[in-house]
Amino acid sequence: MIKRVTFKHKWLPYALLAPQLLITLVFFIWPASQALYYSVLQQDAFGLRVDFVGFDNFAYLFSDPTYLDSFEITIMFSVSVALVSLSFALMLAVMADRVIKGATAYKTLLIWPYAVAPAIAGVLWYFMFNPAVGINAWILRAWFGYDWNHTLNGSDAMLLIVIAAAWKQISYNFLFFLAGLQAIPRSLIEAAAIDGASPLKRFWTIVFPLLSPTTFFLVVVNIVYAFFDTFGTIHATTRGGPYGATNTLVYKVFNDGFIGLDLGGSAAQSVVLMVIVITLTVVQFRYIERRVEY
């Protein structure tokens, strides 16, 4: 936790920590406490009176069908993004682990989406699925007879943001899966081969179980990503529509707070999100302790 050999100084440590702590206090702790504060208050229409209402805001929230809808949408969205992105990345990582020739070229071509902003990822796929001129929409219509329209069809819109969000995360997941695969000793694979396991069997009985710490870690990271970092993806494309089909929790917080100017409700939503983040972070840190040893 701390070095064995330390320095003795009266005020230097405080001075060194000051910038970080100051910013943390002003921009993190204070706003978080404000959110907590406002979540138990209700303002009247003119912002003149402020009443303490206890958990009323929360109760209201959880009985509000639009909020519950949003919750459901967010969960479905995160699970889909995690599943799609992780499976795709795992498959690519397994293949990349096997090939020797061209390994660096493949890797380079697969990691660049990490550098793309979620909002831009959204715009790119938004363009490709544009009902009028998008190339994907055209293929769907011409080859499969499906009329894609994410401005009218809620599931199309959801599919769009799932694809855009999952696409961007592939690189991250790919890199971690690849590292996890390469950490498995070759002799284990060879022993399994001698033990009569076909490549597919080897993957499911040996490789995948040994990859589970990485997989679990990535699931948590992907869920956090889908919950929070995808704001840009949605805001730049579907804006939560059509008719709230892509109204995830984080988008709702922004919408209700900034557009709707509902202080109490938005604060309550923020607090709920805080609880979710804290839970996920705790889970992530706890689990990182347990690693499989070789």
Binding site: P185, S187, L188, E190, A191, A192, A193, I194, D195, G196, A197, S198, K201, T205, I206, P209, L210, S212, V292, E293, Y294
Partner: protein, 369 residues
């Protein structure tokens, strides 16, 4: 259990490097063969080729009466014990041992029976539910062997299994492995770089050097009649001493540096006259004699209790013994005396050697004459 036949086997890597240069080896049913040699000599490569983990670029490998060159490792009916045990960390000991049988579709009760039997032989009962990380090094080694035993294969392949154990454990496991193999009667190929392991465990040894099998034979054969300077220097500890010399014109004597003359055996054919030779003589065959032809100055004495080792310079030595090789000038010569002797540094002794215990090798090729 079957015989193993390696014919003219070669291994050339895609980058052109030739790791194995044509090896021939026939292993009888139930025999314990040890592949021994320094790092990089190709012994592990050869073992892996038998296992099917490396492709064979030349020659054939037969297990039983089948040519196995093109067969997958799983189809060769072999089992392998790895240097780092390669136990599946997420499975219990029982599952580790059962894995191979499960993959082959063995019925549950038969698996149970075989695993329990192997566990009994290896004294692993009580550990069957543990995970590998909860076991000691020796226990892990036994599980690795258990995994091989339950398969009841035609051949066991061992890839330096004892290298990761501490010295005491290594000695103990050495005995256990040998006894186990005797009991089961399975043909075994064992790779090690430790010549003591090789000497004590092998029915027959294969000494390898730079991809070539220098000599194949029983340990005593290799010890008493090494076919090359390499084998002579590799087998036996402390190592064989090497002296440079030339055969006399009459073929019955050896001339060494400084006018030293050693006699060759009186019976038997004379050696080729004037031939340049490297003379090998084991430390225990150098006997201190008052008028011995070699003048030996003691530089270092090691008391082992049962033996005394003397290291020193000899006027005609080429090196060999401690730290020496073929052709080095001025190395140390080793003398082994039975029992405990007090010897002062700087003592000058005369050494003589029984002519029958001199090994002659061609000075240029190192091969036995």
């Amino acid at each position: 259990m079957a015989e193993l036949q390696i014919s003219a086997v070669e291994k050339v890597y895609p980058n052109g490097f030739k790791a194995i240069h044509g090896i021939d080896l026939e292993v009888a049913d139930g025999e314990f063969i040890v592949l021994v040699g320094p790092s990089g000599c190709g012994k592990s490569t050869l073992l892996r080729m038998i296992a099917g983990l490396e492709t064979v670029t030349g020659g054939t490998i037969r297990i039983g009466d089948r040519v196995v060159n093109e067969l997958e490792p799983a189809d060769r009916d072999i089992a392998m014990v790895f240097q780092n045990y390669a136990l599946y960390p997420h499975m219990s000991v029982y599952q580790n041992m059962a894995y191979g049988l499960r993959n082959r579709g063995f019925p549950k009760d038969q698996i149970e029976q075989r695993v329990q039997k192997a566990a009994g032989i290896l004294q692993l009962d009580g550990l069957l539910e543990r995970r590998p990380r909860q076991l000691s090094g020796g226990q892990r080694q036994r599980v690795a062997m258990g995994r091989a035993i339950v398969r009841e294969p035609s051949a066991f392949l061992f890839d330096e299994p004892l290298s990761n154990l501490d010295a005491k454990l290594r000695v103990q496991m050495r005995v256990e492995i040998k006894q186990l193999q005797r009991r089961l009667g399975t043909t075994s190929v064992y790779v090690t770089h430790d010549q003591i392991e090789a000497m004590t465990m092998a029915d027959r040894l294969v000494v390898m050097n730079a991809g070539v099998a220098e000599q194949i034979g029983t340990p005593i054969e290799l010890y008493d009649r090494p076919s090359s300077v390499f084998v002579g220097g590799f087998i036996g500890s402390p190592a064989m001493n090497f002296l440079a010399g030339q055969v006399d014109t009459d073929g019955r004597h050896l001339l060494l540096v400084g006018g030293v003359q050693l006699a060759l055996p009186a019976d038997g054919a004379p050696a080729e006259p004037n031939r340049l030779v490297t003379i090998g003589v084991r430390p225990e065959h150098l006997v201190p004699t008052d008028d011995g032809p070699l003048r030996f100055t003691v530089e270092l004495v090691e008391h082992l209790g049962a033996d005394t080792l003397l290291y020193g310079e000899v006027a005609a030595s080429t090196g060999g013994g401690v730290g020496g090789g073929n052709g080095d000038k001025g190395g140390l010569v080793t003398v082994r005396l039975s029992g405990h002797h007090v010897m002062a540094m700087g003592t000058v002794l005369g050494l003589a050697a029984d002519p029958a215990q001199l090994h002659l090798f061609d000075a240029a090729t190192g091969r036995r004459l």
